[in-house]
């Protein structure tokens, strides 16, 4: 028997989260190589850091 066959019943919280997930993003990621997925992640981290920096700057000017 595999682990998948003995998996616990669906968690209603997890099932509720599934409704909000954009599967088009997942499908796009699955078309990338694993290395491309990490390069994309690093680019996203850079963008998030830039947004944080801009937010700090805006708060200072207020």
């Amino acid at each position: 028997m595999t682990e998948r066959e003995v998996a616990p019943p669906p968690d209603p919280v997890v099932e509720a989260y599934k409704k909000g997930i954009d599967v088009t993003l997942l499908d796009r990621n699955l078309r990338l190589t694993v290395e491309e997925r990490f390069l994309q992640l690093m680019e996203l981290q850079r963008f998030a850091e830039e947004l944080r920096r801009a937010g700090r700057g805006a708060r200072k000017r207020d």
Binding site: E3, R4, P8, D11, V13, V14, E15, Y17, K18, I21, D22, V23, L25, L26, D27, N29, L30, T33, V34, E35, R37, F38, L41, M42, L44, Q45, R46, A48, E49
Partner: protein
Amino acid sequence: MTDYRSLLKVLLEGGAEVILVGGAAATAHGSARLTQDLDVVYRRTPENLSRLAAALAPYTPYLRGAPPGLPFRWDAATLKGGLNFTLTTDLGDLDLLGEISGGGRYEELAPHVVELELFGVRVKCVDLERLIVTKRAAGRPKDLEALAELEILRDRGLDPAEGE
């Protein structure tokens, strides 16, 4: 930003035995969620502790969130004396985990990995099914959302990472 390319090369070219887990493993399997650090389960043999200590030493590992100036000594003895370390390094944030919920230690996790060619090195990464088990075991609110995404990825079929 975490430099995954350099961190993985430093660890693996230094001969460290580690398994990629957590958010970075989820990225390998196709997750679209943003993660900030690199989580690995490391083998706790004396040889591997020495290799880990030597590989990371040039990148000033320090306890993440700790005040500066603590007498933190980065060496194999420190690794032996602890289990899970959340670190900052010059290459980004790194969690060195001796054991994880739902996955256990390196030896218990080792049968549940896929090998990936990533940035020119062979990386052991926890497989999608076991990653789901570990996220379920962790049980934090953020893990439940991550779990939902991982289950969708599993249900959409074979990820190329699983076939390598």
